[in-house]
Amino acid sequence: MVRTIDRDEVRRLMEQGAQIVDVLPAREYGEDHLPGAVNLPLRKIEAEALRVLDPSRPVVVYCADPG
């Protein structure tokens, strides 16, 4: 179940130790990303999510914008 959240909720979850996942290509992630975010580009996310992410902590994913 994926729930859409806004900026304030992202900040709240960050403070609670959520894992922030940037699904943009590595080059864009390298230029700008949210503090502490890990990069899991969409094409790799299924293969690597279990290895990289802690299933016991909340996960917030984001890309560039709603487009």
Partner: protein, 143 residues
């Protein structure tokens, strides 16, 4: 799992910090003056001017109740008839810029268009502050 649907663009627009190779590029969020005076459409210009001068400014941003930018009173407009209402003299609908815009980009725009100042807003038009020419490394405009 949570989806931050509006993404990093929304984050940067709010002026929140980011990491990465571009993080060190000076942005408007680093130079914007958040203490710029504001006023509403129905105020008398003379009252606004007194307040603006007392605060050490020569510009004022006209905002709605929700703090959305509606117009700008530059030094020139502030010198108009003090009995007029802000709505009658303001420069309506000024171009606004988001907090994540690089300072160098706005410097070019303000130089090309000979702008005295530029409001910085969130993506929904709410005022963040004002950037003056000197804030982006430009000299004052000759009268």
């Amino acid at each position: 799992m949570y989806d931050y649907r509006t993404g990093i663009l929304d984050w940067k627009t709010a002026g929140l910090p980011v990491e990465g190779t571009n993080a060190q590029v000076p942005r408007l969020v680093d130079v914007v003056r958040r203490d710029v005076p504001t006023c509403s459409l129905g105020e008398r210009l003379g009252d606004v001017r007194d307040r603006v001068v007392a605060a050490g400014w020569d510009a004022c941003v006209v905002v709605s109740d929700g703090h959305v930018v509606l117009g700008l009173l530059r030094a020139r407009e502030l010198q108009a008839d003090p009995q007029q209402l802000v709505d009658q003299v303001m420069r309506p609908g000024p171009s606004t810029y988001r907090p994540f815009v690089p300072v160098a980009e706005l410097r070019g725009i303000m130089s090309d268009r000979n702008l005295e100042s530029s409001p910085v807003t969130t993506s929904d038009g709410k005022l963040v502050g004002l950037v003056r020419r000197q804030d982006v490394g430009l000299g004052t405009i000759d009268p």
